[in-house]
């Protein structure tokens, strides 16, 4: 990306849109849909959004914006502060690096990559909690949440692809 594009108004608008959608995703995740310990965990909507945006608009997915959203989510939803934000930033950067092969492939491969990213993100948070000698959650609960996140991803794709018309720029991605 060139410096002029880096500072363009269109990019700034896309970043602001990402921040707005990210905030809505955090709010939706935090909605109290049953507080029972056996209730289904909320899917990681923010990860789905960031994954889609990192693949389609990597230039408009700055690390600081991703970190700010992750940190906001950590503070609001009681994820260990810093662990959620760090895992989200790493997921975004890894997906940006995988962008070219995913752009060439069919959607199920992208879906599998995001599902793997969700699982890896949950695993990273679990590991960070274990390293700090805090009580980690049950691994099954994390796998359950990652599975739920993977199931929700196509819905996020439909909303962003056909609702907001954010599509692949395959020529740019493959180049």
């Amino acid at each position: 990306m060139e410096l002029a594009e880096y500072l363009s108004a269109a990019r700034l608008t896309r970043i602001l849109l990402l921040l707005g959608l990210g905030l809505i995703a955090i709010y939706a995740e935090a909605a109290p849909l049953g507080l029972s310990a056996t209730a289904h965990p909320s899917p990681d909507l923010l990860l789905c959004l960031i994954a889609y945006w990192s693949l389609r608009r990597p230039g408009s997915t700055p690390m600081l914006a991703v970190f700010a959203l992750g940190l906001g989510r950590d503070l609001l939803t009681d994820v260990p502060v810093g662990a959620g934000a760090l895992s989200l930033v790493i997921v975004a950067e890894v997906l940006k690096a995988w962008r070219a092969p995913i752009a060439r492939a069919v959607f199920p491969l992208e879906w599998a990559a995001v599902a793997f990213a969700a699982l890896a993100s949950a695993g990273m948070q679990w590991l960070l909690v274990v390293v700090t000698l805090a009580q980690p959650p049950y691994l099954m609960a994390l796998i359950h949440q990652s599975l739920f996140t993977a199931l929700v991803y196509p819905l996020i794709v439909i909303f962003l692809r056909w609702g907001l018309r954010i599509t692949w720029r395959k020529r740019e991605a493959v180049a």
Partner: protein, 310 residues
């Protein structure tokens, strides 16, 4: 020339990104350490963020809640007939109890009047709306839309219509954070009735928290009532929590009375424990035994005595 400039730009952006990633990793790890050490500043930052977003959060979560409730009510509607029959039976049983309770209340009031009983100050409460939960498996917590402005204090007990739900672990001006009884960090001193055996209720991420350090497990029966003991002065005594259940592994757990699945409103209790008598009165001075005999005291003049009196 322009290609060279573009390459320079790309290299510059790449270097900036690498430095930024390093800074983000360092800041994240620092925040994680602060979280782990329960840093009060981090908790204050968390509560000020929650205070700031709480009003918009309620506004955005309204439609999500509405959609969720419609789905839940539809399920409930499907077995309406069965519910109706059950509720009629319950109403019949409760009518008999209501009459019994009224008579007991009258008798109680008369006996109190006869004995000139001085009642302890009542525990007051404020009711709040649960507008967010942790959503994930890391912590079992919830946010409520009442805070310091409404008289909520750190440690306040949270109850629903049936029993204890948890306690306040963070207070902002307009919102509070609750740790539920099911959370890994939750520990509540309890008393098991009948028999008044003490125990500690420990959350472990499951729907039925464990009963630990039980004072005599041999006389516990499944179905016994678990209440707060009031030890430590955090919770008022005698708040109902749940019923004892036995597990195949030989451990005792609590089936909670609070309905977490339908928790929309909670009461946060403002509790002032009775004055603790933890020191001897002025009449029995601790140095009375070691004090010298009166005749052994040196004689004091009027000035010295005056100074002593002052």
């Amino acid at each position: 020339m322009s290609r060279a400039a573009a390459n320079t730009d790309k290299a510059f952006v790449r270097i900036v990104n690498r430095i930024l990633l390093g800074v983000i990793v360092a800041v994240s790890l620092l925040l994680l350490i602060l979280w782990r050490t329960d840093n009060p500043r981090l908790e204050r930052v968390r509560m000020s963020v929650i205070d700031t977003v709480a009003p918009t959060m309620e506004w955005v979560n309204g439609p999500v809640d509405f959609a969720w409730n419609v789905g839940r009510d539809y399920k409930s509607f499907m077995n309406l007939q069965e519910q109706n029959r059950r509720l009629r039976r319950e109403i019949q049983a409760l009518r008999a109890w209501r009459e019994e309770a009224r008579l007991l209340e009258e008798e109680n009031a008369q006996l109190r009047a006869l004995n000139n009983v001085r009642l302890a100050a009542r525990t007051t409460f404020v009711t709040g709306d649960v507008f967010a939960d942790s959503g994930g498996p890391f912590l079992q917590s919830a946010l409520v839309n009442v805070g310091r402005n409404d008289g909520v204090e750190d440690g306040s007990a949270a109850v629903d219509g049936s029993g204890l739900v948890g306690r306040v672990v963070g207070v902002g001006q307009r919102a509070s954070r609750l740790m539920l009884l099911t959370d890994f960090s939750s520990r509540v001193p309890v008393i098991i009735q009948p028999g008044a055996r003490r125990a500690v209720l420990s959350g472990d991420g499951t729907a039925a928290p464990k009963l630990e350090f039980i004072d005599g497990t041999d006389r516990i029966q499944p179905g016994d009532l678990i209440e707060t003991s009031g030890d430590g002065g955090v919770f008022p005594p005698d708040l109902p929590i749940g019923r004892v259940v036995a597990t195949p592994g030989g451990t005792w757990r609590a089936a909670l009375l609070a309905d977490y699945a339908r928790l929309e409103f909670v009461r946060l209790l403002r509790y002032n424990p009775d004055t603790l008598i933890d020191s001897p009165g002025d009449l029995v001075r601790p140095d009375a035994v070691t004090a010298p005999e009166p005749e052994a005291l040196p004689e004091q003049g009027p000035v010295a005595a005056g100074e002593a009196a002052n």
